[in-house]
Structure formats: structure tokens, C-alpha cells
């Protein structure tokens, strides 16, 4: 198994096979990062492509401080956010505040977290279904564990907006989990 150091060294020399090895080693993990920020797998793959090209272009600036996987992850997250910022200029988002049915669902959601077994696919589907802005903030705060100050700087809005988006994202997810659990409990009764 070739180490990251050897792969990075080969990439710095412009060796094609080194880039290929880097891709093969980290593509699946990084797509797992990108897909959390996207609505669909296709969109996630677009982010992944752009992210790897940025990695190849900037491989020489990796100074070896911290883990290489962490450095890749940050590039992918930044690429996903840039992708989101570019798309939000062109797409009319159906803001959840304008969706009265969704707002009603949120207001009826429990605040408690449920017990239960949820597959990775189910949880990912819920994240993918989140409105774009909520999904970005939820991923950055909960999974990447950034502070609201850092999120606000990245997303170019205020800290209070970040907190508000996170709160709404949690309510949305709780509502979805609650619906799912009610569905499962109905099946059990039958």
C-alpha cells in the first residue's frame, strides 16, 4: 500500500499515475462528503470533479501540517459551498417560510430526539431533502463541527442567520423522523 507521502510526491512531479492513485484512494470518501451537501448524486459528482481538479492544482500548497484527508475534505466542502453560492444566484428557491404546509409540519414537530434504527441511506435522504441553505448550515455545524462565526464567514451571512438556519434544519429533520417513525409503528400494529 503506497503511503500518502509517496502519492503526494508523485502528484507534485506531475505523474499521471500518482493522480490516479490519489483519486482511487479518496474518491469514495470524498463523494460521501460531497453528497451530504448536494440534492442528488449527479450534483455531488459535479462537486467531486471540481474538487479534485482544485486538489490537483493546489497539491503543491499542501504543507504536510495536519492530515491529508482533512485537507482534501476542506477543499471538497469549500467547493460544495461555492457550488451552492453559484447556483443560488440562478435558481429560485422555494423558501420554506413561503411553504405553509411545511411550516405547519415544523410547528407540530417534537423537540425530543427519537430512539430508533436509521440506515445511512435514510439519514442521507433526509439531509438531501433539506432546503439548500438549511442543508449547508446543518452539515457545517453538525458534521464539520464549525462554529456559527466560521459558518457565517463562509456563507457570507450573519451569525444569527446561521443559528436560525440550523434551528429550522433541526425542526425539519425532526418532523421527517417523526413521520417515519409513525409510519413504522403503523406497520407494527398491522
Amino acid at each position: 500500500m503506497i503511503s500518502d507521502d509517496q502519492i503526494i510526491k508523485g502528484c507534485r512531479k506531475g505523474k499521471h499515475h500518482a493522480f490516479n492513485m490519489l483519486y482511487k484512494k479518496y474518491a469514495a470518501i470524498m463523494l460521501g462528503v460531497c453528497i451530504r451537501y448536494s440534492r442528488t448524486k449527479t450534483e455531488a459528482e459535479d462537486v467531486l470533479q471540481e474538487g479534485f481538479i482544485r486538489v490537483f492544482n493546489n497539491i503543491k500548497s499542501f504543507e504536510g501540517r495536519g492530515s491529508f484527508e482533512g485537507w482534501l475534505r476542506r477543499i471538497m466542502v469549500n467547493t460544495a459551498i461555492n457550488h451552492f453560492k453559484a447556483s443560488r444566484k440562478h435558481v429560485n428557491h422555494d423558501d420554506i417560510e413561503n411553504n405553509s404546509a411545511a411550516m405547519a409540519a415544523l410547528s407540530n414537530a417534537d423537540d425530543d430526539v427519537y430512539e430508533g434504527e436509521f440506515s445511512q441511506e435514510e439519514l442521507l435522504k433526509m439531509i438531501n431533502d433539506l432546503p439548500d441553505g438549511y442543508r449547508m448550515v446543518f452539515n457545517l455545524y453538525v458534521i464539520e463541527e464549525l462554529s456559527h462565526k466560521e459558518i457565517a464567514a463562509m456563507m457570507e451571512f450573519t451569525e444569527s442567520t446561521s443559528k436560525s438556519q440550523l434551528s429550522k434544519a433541526r425542526k425539519w429533520l425532526r418532523a421527517r423522523i417523526s413521520e417515519k417513525q409513525k409510519k413504522y409503528s403503523n406497520y407494527e400494529r398491522v
Binding site: A27, L48, Q49, F56, V113, F138, I143
Partner: protein
């Protein structure tokens, strides 16, 4: 049943280690987006072209070997015919010592064959010198079939042309006999073929300079294999070679430093003007304001580009002496970019933080076509083996940079010397 402290914990644990395999097309898109113009990716049709070249060379070699065998058979037949005293085509056995002066001063025509004769020992032992000249096995069975008279001697047909190429020392070699080719069936045709058709191969190294219009001139070298066919004074040559050349690249470096951008007057204290109670006097202190400032610089390390070359040349021998020939050749060389090596930018300054390093060197195209002009001087060391020195000039016929991406149209030229060793079959 699993329990989660809160919803954050549920999703944090659930998404941990998430992996998804990308589609096959993702890597291809990355390759297209990043590697296009950056280097040569060996494709199947490149390997096919190389395979065709090897097959062509091998087939040519095979058929020439067959031809050579046939030629030898003609020679062998004539020898065995001579062994029959009743054969009307039998050569006159009473040899006449040739006027070697006439041979040396060129008064004998090139089409007029001569026969080299060397004496053998009584037990049929061959004299090695003659055998070496003729290339025949000393212990060939056919030699044992010769008559008593011919057993004492070995006959080999050579034309003046081929004798010249074998560098025979007339003072020490055996006497020669002039033969009319009309008396020997097939001999005329054989000699004609021997003189006019001649395959050869060789290896050479080349060293020179590449002259770029916009960057500093750089050293280049190559190692090549050649395969050629000579017909009379003209020869056609191809081959394959590996060339390495360098050029100054450019890295544009964006830097950041924490510098002063100005100052402001900070109010330290204030007091009421005793002279005028309505007036306030502010005591201020000048304070510098610092901020990040962007800077730009560049470095120009040497970039290396490696090519595979396939030449197609035509040459003409305009001077042919006994051991020395001079020819001029021209043609085209196909260059395929196979590898690039870019060293890192070596910029370092502790007072600056590097924000970004960008390679702004013009991208090279995958292949080039060059025109070549060479003057080859050959010296024959021994039979069929020669060394050469050849000043060579080449000029690019298409730009080395990718003009489709907006880079300038640059067609450098090279000048150098090629040293080679060649073997003629």
C-alpha cells in the same frame, strides 16, 4: 435499540464513514479537465502505431534475409559450376594478375566484377582472410565439392563497389581476376542487386541547443535507433528516438504580508480650552493601521519535456571514397510529447505568506512536426560498419504551445551534432 442524545448526535453518528462510489465517467471528466494539454497519455492508437513500425521493420528484415540467402545461392551456384571442367560457363582458371594500379585509379568500371582469389592449404584449410571477406563458413561443405584445382583456391565474386566498402588492402590481398559477367548467368543481376540495394541499421546520440524566441535557449539531447534502405546513392531512413529538452517555465506567486496601510489619530484625552470654554482640545496620538497586503512575484525554474521521435528522411551520397562518404539528408520528424517534469517553485521569504502559486507557463501540444537538414560524414571502420558525425538543423513546423488555448505561436529551431554508428547488411 440505539439511543441518541439529540438529533445532532443521530446524524453525526449516522453520517460517520459515509462512502459512495463515483460513476466511471467522473475520473474521465477529471482527466479531461486537468490533464488536457498537460502531457501525453499513451492511448491504444499510439501503441498500434509503434507495433506497426516494429512489424514493418521485422518484415523488411525477414524478406531482406531471404534475399540475401538467394544472392548467396547465386554465388554458390557459380562456384559449383566452376567445379565442372566441362561447364561452358566455367571461368578461365588461368588467372591473370590484375593491374592493381588500374584498380586503384578507378579505370575499371563499377559494373565490372572482379574475383578475389586466395590460396588454401593442401588439406583444404581455408585462409581466414578470404573467408572473412566473403562471410562464408570456413568449413562449408560446398567447398569440399570443388575440383582438385579449385580446392587450392576459393572464388568469391565481388564488384568493385563492394570491394571498396570492405576496405581491402590491395597490397596485401590475393591477386584478382577480371570477369565478364555475361559469361556467368545470374551474376550480372546479382552484382546489380548487391550494389544498388543495401539495408542498414544504426544507433546515434544527438546533442544541441533549442533556440526559443521568447525564453532563454536551452540544451537538448536525444538517443535514436535508425533503420534504412540504400539504393545507389540515395537512402531512405526511419527509426525511433527519445529526446529530452528543457525550457524556462513561470510560476506566478500571490503573496500576503502584514503591512501598514496608513494611520489615524486616536483621541487619548480631551479638555476644555481655558481660553474659550466653548472649544474642546483633543489630545491625540497617531496610530498606524495594519492590514494584509497582496503582492505578486514569479519564479522561472527549468521545465523538462520528453518526446518520442519518429523521423522520415531521404539522403543523397554526393561524395564516396574508399573509406569515407559524405551525404546530405532532409525530411520530417514526428515528435510525441510523452512526459513533462515541473519542479516546484522554490520561492521562500519568511516575511511573506504564500496565498497561491500558479503555473502560468504556456501549455505544450501533444505532438509536433519538425523539418530536418543534416550533413552526414561516414567513416568505414571495417566491413559494413561505419561511424558518423552529422551536424543537424531542425525547425518546428507547428507551434510547441497550444495556440487553441490562446498561447503564442512559437516555432523554435535546434542546432546540434549527431554521432552514430551504422551497420550495413
Amino acid at each position: 435499540m440505539k439511543e441518541y442524545k439529540n438529533i445532532d448526535d443521530l446524524f453525526r453518528q449516522g453520517m460517520s464513514g459515509l462512502k459512495t462510489e463515483p460513476s466511471d465517467g467522473v475520473w474521465k471528466n477529471i482527466e479531461a479537465g486537468y490533464f488536457k494539454g498537460r502531457g501525453f497519455i499513451v492511448k491504444w492508437y499510439h501503441m498500434a502505431a509503434l507495433a506497426l513500425l516494429l512489424i514493418f521493420s521485422g518484415t523488411t528484415w525477414y524478406y531482406y534475409s531471404q534475399y540475401q540467402t538467394d544472392s548467396d545461392n547465386i554465388s554458390e551456384n557459380q562456384i559449383s559450376n566452376q567445379s565442372n571442367p566441362e561447364d561452358q560457363n566455367r571461368l578461365p582458371v588461368g588467372e591473370t594478375e590484375m593491374n592493381k594500379e588500374a584498380f586503384s585509379d578507378g579505370s575499371l568500371g563499377e559494373d565490372q566484377p572482379v574475383m578475389l582469389i586466395a590460396e588454401t592449404g593442401n588439406d583444404g584449410e581455408n585462409i581466414s582472410e578470404t573467408s572473412a571477406l566473403s562471410g562464408k563458413d570456413d568449413n562449408s561443405e560446398k567447398q569440399n565439392e570443388l575440383t582438385d584445382i579449385e580446392e587450392e583456391k576459393q572464388y568469391r565474386y565481388q564488384s568493385i563497389y563492394s570491394i571498396n566498402s570492405q576496405s581491402i588492402d590491395l597490397d596485401n590481398d590475393a591477386p584478382v581476376v577480371i570477369i565478364d559477367p555475361e559469361n556467368v548467368p545470374g551474376l550480372k543481376e546479382y552484382l546489380k542487386k548487391q550494389k544498388h540495394t543495401h539495408f542498414y541499421t544504426g544507433a546515434s546520440v544527438h546533442a544541441g541547443m533549442v533556440y526559443y524566441p521568447s525564453t532563454k535557449d536551452q540544451f537538448t539531447w536525444s538517443a535514436d535507433l535508425a533503420f534504412g534502405l540504400k539504393a545507389g546513392k540515395i537512402y531512405i531512413e526511419t527509426g525511433v528516438g527519445y529526446e529530452s529538452m528543457k525550457e524556462r517555465g513561470t510560476y506566478l506567486i500571490e503573496l500576503k504580508s502584514y503591512d501598514s496601510v496608513g494611520f489615524y489619530n486616536r483621541v487619548e484625552s480631551f479638555e476644555i480650552n481655558s481660553q474659550n470654554p466653548n472649544d474642546i482640545i483633543y489630545n491625540t496620538k497617531q496610530v498606524a493601521v495594519y492590514d494584509s497586503i497582496n503582492h505578486y512575484t514569479h519564479t522561472t525554474p527549468l521545465f523538462e519535456y520528453d518526446y518520442v521521435n519518429v523521423p522520415l528522411l531521404v539522403g543523397f551520397r554526393f561524395l564516396e571514397k574508399k573509406k569515407f562518404t559524405v551525404s546530405a539528408n532532409t525530411g520530417v520528424i514526428f515528435n510525441f510529447l510523452v512526459q513533462k517534469e515541473f519542479p516546484d517553485s522554490d520561492f521562500y521569504n519568511p516575511d511573506f505568506t504564500i496565498v497561491q502559486t500558479r503555473n502560468v507557463t504556456p501549455e505544450r501540444v501533444d505532438w509536433n512536426l519538425r523539418w530536418q537538414l543534416g550533413l552526414r560524414m561516414n567513416y568505414n571502420i571495417v566491413r559494413s560498419l561505419s561511424v558518423s558525425a552529422e551536424p543537424v538543423f531542425t525547425k518546428y513546423l507547428n507551434s510547441v504551445y497550444d495556440t487553441g488555448k490562446g498561447y503564442p505561436n512559437v516555432k523554435p529551431y535546434t542546432m546540434g551534432v549527431r554521432i552514430g554508428i551504422y551497420y550495413g547488411f
